[in-house]
């Protein structure tokens, strides 16, 4: 009952931005494969376009995560979180309910992407050896959206001083650490951190690499 109420409220205030990002996400494969709905398959240009469009998926996933996570807490910030804090549920449970409702909303663009990629996959005639991966691309997009959403949700839900502290620490790490590491003759800690985060099994590895709808 509480979950449904929270989900409804979040849907109510996020529905227009969510609709916009959902349409944008679904448009990525459709626009990339546009000429191939009407006539013969120009395979190489199609693959080039799909590869170029691939860079848009992680960006779109971050935007989806940001729209949902930041939007979830916006009405509470308007009321200085008094209403949320006066609810008769433990704070962790309330935040968890919010997070779960946001997860449902995050999956809406991923579902739209699945439908769009399936449409492209059944429309384009592929030569032997090439396969379409609508499920993999959509699943990867869903996971990337969830990672982005979770990160931004945590920041939006946290105390502003904690967020400021984390951001300040990261900025210092990025700006100061390379110089210090060079003087000390050590490995740059910022580079190490980025490598840990963006290489498997780092949490942001899902954003890196190629996102191909058609592949061997």
């Amino acid at each position: 009952m509480m979950f449904r109420a929270i989900l409804y409220v979040q849907w109510k205030w996020l529905r227009w931005p969510l609709l916009a990002v959902t349409l944008a996400v679904a448009a990525i494969p459709l626009v990339a494969a546009r000429s191939d709905f009407t006539g013969g398959t120009m395979l190489v240009p199609l693959l080039n376009r799909l590869e170029s469009a691939g860079i848009l998926y992680p960006i779109a996933a971050i935007i989806v995560g940001w729209v949902v996570a930041a939007g979830l807490w916006y009405p509470d910030r308007q009321g200085r979180r008094v209403y949320a804090m006066a609810m008769p549920v433990p704070r962790w449970q309330f935040v968890l309910l919010r997070y779960q409702a946001g997860l449902v909303l995050v999956l809406v663009p991923a579902l739209a992407l699945l439908l769009a990629t399936i449409l492209v996959a059944v429309t384009v005639q592929l030569p032997p050896g090439l396969h379409a991966y609508p499920g993999s691309v959509s699943l990867r997009f869903a996971l990337a959206s969830v990672v982005a959403y979770s990160m931004i949700f945590a920041m939006a839900a946290a105390d502003s001083t904690v967020v400021a502290g984390v951001v300040a620490a990261l900025v210092i790490l990025m700006l100061v650490a390379p110089g210090v590491a060079e003087i000390a003759g050590a490995r740059d800690p910022a580079e190490t951190l980025l490598s840990l985060l963006f290489s498997p099994p780092g949490p942001f590895a899902i954003f890196a690499g190629r996102w191909m709808l058609f592949d061997v």
Partner: protein, 301 residues
């Protein structure tokens, strides 16, 4: 005494400008407790501390038998809260806001909520962003009463409302208290309003409680006395002398608390003459009490 709210030695400080110190109060179950104080006295901060919206630096708070902040969710389950400023989600309609609120309170009384909805003449499909101040006040009261709380905490609930809406809100509140025997903790600087509805009163000023007593004692016990030939130095008095001012040759006006008729004899004992005993209304008593509490210790008597 069974208490709905107990606060002991509460301390809270934010920055250098404001602090609550050694704050203690007791709200008996079933009481309508008026929490009086001028603007900036710390009433809203105290309420937020009671409800776990702020963390105290020291002291103990118990609400409906639950320690706050440790068991704040249980305390809030039985507490209806109407804050000073509207806190509900502006993007919802009235009906959606009520439905959302209802989902969190298993004891929600739909019959009572429907009755208030009709009485307040609210429009179900009106967006909260378009509600007038009076309509928003009614909606907040409706939601707080609909959840059937054992305790209502109202922070200046009628501030800024027109007299008609104010009366509607207070009538609904009193009906609820009469029917459910709920406890009400209501803060206000509108003294006359509290005088009509409260049976206990606590007075706060500059972050501390300066008095806490039954309303009847507060109203009856504060008097203005006209005294002649009063001695310059007073020993022990059977009442509390709040203020003392010259009022012509050999005459003085005193404001006292805890007055009872047999105390007239005390004046004969010290060689003074009591000319007149004048009743003060709550507002005058409140003002005198604040004036006294702000004087340096020992200045009065």
């Amino acid at each position: 005494m069974d208490a709905a709210i107990t606060v002991r030695d509460l301390a809270y400080r934010v920055g250098k400008g404001f602090e609550i110190r050694d704050l203690s109060l007791t709200v008996p179950r079933g009481a309508v407790y008026g929490f009086l104080g001028p603007n900036g006295a710390g009433k809203t901060t105290t309420i937020r501390l009671l409800l776990g919206l702020l963390r105290a630096q020291a002291g103990q708070v118990t609400v409906l038998g639950h320690a706050v902040p440790r068991e704040v969710a249980r305390a809030l389950a039985g507490t209806g809260y109407v804050p000073e400023r509207p806190h509900l989600y502006q993007g919802l309609t009235v009906a959606e806001s009520i439905a959302y609120h209802r989902a969190f309170y298993p004891r929600w009384d739909q019959r009572w909520a429907d009755e208030l909805f009709r009485r307040f003449a609210l429009a179900a499909d009106r967006s909260l962003a378009r509600l007038s101040k009076g309509e928003m006040g009614k909606l907040m009261i409706l939601q707080a009463l609909g959840q059937c709380p054992e305790l209502l905490v109202l922070d200046e609930p009628t501030d800024g409302l027109d007299p008609v809406v104010r009366r509607e809100v207070l009538t609904a509140l009193l009906d609820f208290v009469a029917e459910r025997n709920a406890t009400v903790f209501i803060s206000s600087h509108l003294v006359h309003e509290l005088e009509r509805i409260c049976d206990w009163v606590g007075v706060m000023d500059h972050g501390r409680v300066v008095a806490e007593l039954p309303m009847q004692s507060f109203k009856n016990g504060i008097k203005r006395l006209r005294v002649q030939k009063a001695p310059a130095r007073l020993g022990d008095t059977p009442f509390v002398l709040l203020a003392r001012e010259p009022d012509g040759p050999l005459a003085e006006t005193w404001v006292v608390r805890g007055w009872q008729a047999p105390m007239t004899q005390w004046f004969e004992g010290v060689g003074a003459t009591l000319r007149d005993v004048i009743d003060l209304d709550l507002e005058e008593g409140f003002v005198e009490m604040l004036r006294t509490s702000r004087q340096p210790a020992g200045e009065v008597a």
